[in-house]
Amino acid sequence: MLRKLTDRPVARTGLLYLAMATLYLLACLIGLAQGAYYTFRGLAPGRTLAIEDLTCESVVVRDHSYDESIPEGEVRIVSTDTDPHLVWEGEAWVGRVVLHIRQLRPATGAELYYRVPGKTEFDTKNVVFGVPDGQGGYVFDLRGKRVTGLRIDPDSIGGVAAVFEGVELNAARPWYKAFQPTGRELLWLAGGPLLISAAWELLRGLRKTPAH
């Protein structure tokens, strides 16, 4: 019966969509389970990193002791070129990161790079773009990744001063976000089964005896 279904393009495409949706849901559930497992093992710390926990590259740190106009207890960072980095070294399972920051002038290009086990460098393939959280900060949704380091680029224009309030690891995330596809996943979900079905039909047509 399955063969009969797969011989009919509409039925086959429908089956493929069903399969794709099922696989996606399974992947999301596995991700949730993974998160729960790592949280249970204590490998998904929910903590806020202070500036001392980070290595600053092309970023200078200023506080009241340096400049009395900065209120006591406040930490300011200033990017000194167009590629500033705030780097955290550590192993963890990370779901969502929030950069609590108030930039004193508009800046663009907040990005988070994550390093996966086995790699020594940060890779442009492992990057998440910051979504403004409405309070000046940025939210980076890694959707559950095992990492050995994080690198946050707070801006890409340089000379941007900001009030730094911390980097929150594993910030609270609504449960339904685990099922929300990224743009790339959405394209695959929407178009992948149709493409596979078309490729299947092409191969089927090439295998058939000529009846053109």
Partner: protein, 697 residues
């Protein structure tokens, strides 16, 4: 989400219905029709705009489209055809239209992808970011929508008012009903035009639906393929209001329309509409349209069963028939621009003071190429010629190489099509597109060489500025047409299985190359919202000034530390004319200075104590050494109305203090401040705070 956010889907639905109705009437594959329908709409709106009735023309277009669909649903098709008993004429006609729709998977894919891109961009709301989107493309789209008129005569800050309006009127159509201008709707409209070109390429019949799907994917990847590896522009594909890619896609799409309709009369009308639209995309579109007409004429001459005198006559008629509307469109646009803005497009090329006529450019250019040209441009011509030849292999134009590699790829595809096609007309088609396409490319390349010599500055010509942006679209369109010819072999060719296999493998290879070298980390599927912080900041500041300014005012922007980005953003956001600044060593007599868009005013003298105070200014890009006297001389000459202080510093507050009637801010964190320029003949002009938003020391 506002209801007006869905207006584009309404237009898309109407386009789909019109295409289906036309397909039922003409028996053309409905997937071929989105391109001529959109192209015809753009041409109609352009004509209406030139007549000063853009909005009524839009209503008439929508009404005509709706009326036509109703007509096809309700009218009797054949005088003698009666509906079956119990079946109404509506039932009969709607079934006919449904069949036309189902027979054309490319139309369904066009509508699905169009709706998908609309919803995706609606959710993400991307914005313009590239400078050229503000110097012309995006700003012109906004001016058209805000003023319901074509951009040459509309108020706004444009550096190129004479550019044609096809993309502008198309975006106008897709946000016809809503209030105000939306950048994301503009980008979605551009993408829908691209999808229409892809649909023309992939317009296979229903039994070859799989080729339509694979074809749409392959065509959709082409803009990613025609970028150098690692090019950051890949992130802006399908998020870009510049018209270059669409030149290539409409060019290729028009050729696909021709090849797929096999020269039928209805098909030639569709091609004609596409070529007229191409003429109105960009000035270079005129050249593209004429080249396409020439290629089609060549095909009609040689790629027929019996080439001869008769086919020559037919080809000539077709070529002239296609060229005349293109020429008429270009001429009409030139006359309109002259009337609306005073710009004479026929005056020639080059900057003021060194302009040359088109006739001189062509004749001297050809003579220079033969080594017999005049002395004036000889050296520059030699340099540019050497650079253009070197760029054939040295400048990456696509993921697998430069210009030569891309051309060889097109020829390779056509060679394959030649081998897989039936002997005779079909093989001659592939050969004509190969030889004709190469010849057309040679003409195109030579024309660009002439433009670099006679139109560009020496510095820009030496760098072959934007070479890839100008040359790649032709190759992309040519490759699209070549793949279409190969695809036709897969449909009906002598060795259709091999052609289908080659097509499938080709798309797989293209996808692999793009995935490995060309796919950016961000694209239309994951717009990086943090990129828009500066745009949003400038928009908010400009909004605060909206009631204080009008298009009768000229404003000089001072934004210390700017690299022109904020200047361009203000050009788009502010409802006043943006004045040009200057750069150089001073503005007094004998000082070396030049016209600039933005300006960074820096401390001019060499007093080491003061230099230490203003040492940070050495970081500013493109500085103007400017004291109070320099600025006074400049403002007196230009007679600007206001200064807009967008970003200040110590030099503005302390170094230019005598100009300000009240203390200037040290920095402008939340707002930009307006200052009226008052000249009462004193030593310096005075800058008085103006507007609602004032700096409080």
């Amino acid at each position: 989400m506002a209801v007006s956010d869905l207006e584009g889907l309404l237009i898309l639905t109407l386009v789909g219905l019109v295409c289906t109705a036309l397909a039922a009437r003409t028996r053309l594959n409905a997937g071929l029709l989105p391109l001529p329908v959109l192209a015809g709409s753009a041409a109609w709106l352009t004509v209406c705009g030139m007549l000063g009735v853009l909005r009524p023309g839009g209503w008439a277009l929508l009404a005509a489209g709706t009326a036509y669909v109703l007509f096809e649903l309700l009218a009797a098709r054949d005088p003698g055809a009666l509906p079956d008993a119990g079946q109404s004429r509506f039932d009969m006609n709607s079934r006919r239209m449904a069949r036309a729709f189902l027979d054309a998977p490319a139309l369904g894919l066009f509508l699905l992808c169009g709706a998908g891109i609309w919803l995706l961009l609606m959710a993400q709301k991307p914005m313009f970011l590239r400078w050229d989107e503000f110097s012309f493309w995006g700003t012109a789209c906004r001016m058209t929508k805000d003023n319901h008129m074509l951009h040459p005569g509309a108020p706004g800050n444009l550096t190129a008012r004479s550019y044609p309006p096809a993309m502008m009127v198309l975006t106008y159509l897709f946000q016809f009903f809503g209030e105000g201008f939306s950048e994301w709707k503009c980008l979605a409209a551009y993408d829908i035009l691209a999808l229409a070109a892809f649909a023309a390429f992939a317009a296979f019949p229903a039994k070859r639906w799989h080729l339509a799907v694979i074809g749409m994917l392959g065509a959709g990847l082409l803009p990613y393929f025609f970028l150098a590896p690692g090019d950051s522009q890949a992130a802006t594909v399908y998020l870009n209001a510049m018209g270059d890619i669409y030149l290539g896609l409409v060019f290729g799409g028009a050729l696909c329309l021709y090849f797929r309709t096999k020269g039928a009369r209805a098909g030639l009308v569709c091609v004609g509409l596409a070529l007229v639209c191409l003429t109105f995309v960009k000035d270079m579109g005129f050249a593209y349209a004429l080249l396409a007409a020439a290629l089609i004429a060549l095909d009609r001459f040689l790629a027929v069963e019996k080439p001869g005198l008769r086919s020559f006559g037919c080809a000539s008629a077709s070529g002239i028939g296609l060229a005349v509307p293109v020429l008429a469109g270009f001429a009409a646009w030139s006359r309109y621009v002259l009337a609306a803005s005073g710009i004479d497009k026929g005056a020639g090329v080059g900057a003021e003071g060194s302009q040359v006529g088109y006739g001189y450019m062509l004749t001297d250019g050809v003579l220079q190429f033969l080594g017999r040209g005049g002395e004036t441009h000889a050296e520059k011509f030699a340099q540019v010629k050497a650079a253009m030849f070197a760029a054939l292999t040295g400048t990456p134009l696509c993921l697998v190489g430069g210009t030569l590699t891309a051309a060889v790829l097109c020829l390779g595809v056509l060679a394959l099509a030649f081998g897989l096609a039936w002997p005779g007309a079909e093989r001659r088609r592939a050969a004509c597109l190969a030889a004709g396409g190469l010849g057309a490319f040679a003409v195109f390349w030579l024309f660009h060489l002439l433009l670099y010599v006679y139109s560009f500055s020496a510095k820009e010509a030496a760098l072959l500025k934007d070479y890839d942006r100008y040359i790649a679209p032709y190759l992309m369109g040519w490759l699209l047409a070549a793949l279409c010819v190969l695809g036709l072999c897969g449909e009906n060719g002598r060795r259709w299985k091999a052609a289908q296999a080659a097509s499938g493998l080709g798309v797989l290879a293209l996808a692999a190359v793009v995935a490995l070298w060309g796919l950016p980390a961000q694209g239309f599927w994951n717009v990086n919202q943090s990129n828009y912080a500066i745009r949003q900041d400038v928009a908010a500041r400009a909004q605060l000034l909206a009631d204080d300014l009008s298009w009768d005012d000229t404003v000089l922007l001072i934004s210390q530390g700017d690299d022109a980005t904020r200047w361009y953003y203000y050009c788009y956001e502010l409802n006043a004319v943006m004045g040009y600044g200057w750069g150089g060593d001073g503005y007094k007599e004998g000082d070396n200075h030049w016209v600039s868009t933005f300006m960074n005013l820096v401390y001019p003298d060499s007093d080491p104590r003061e230099l230490e105070l203003y040492a940070y200014q050495s970081e500013y890009p493109d500085q103007a050494l400017c004291d109070e006297e320099d600025l006074t001389l400049f403002l007196r000459e230009k007679q600007y109305d206001y200064i807009l202080l967008d970003q200040s510093d110590k030099y503005i507050r302390y170094g230019l203090a005598d100009l300000f009637t009240e203390q200037a801010p040290l920095e402008c964190i939340d707002a930009a401040y307006l200052y009226r320029i008052v000249d009462d003949g004193g030593e310096y002009v005075r800058l008085e705070p103006a507007g609602e938003v004032r700096y409080a020391p």
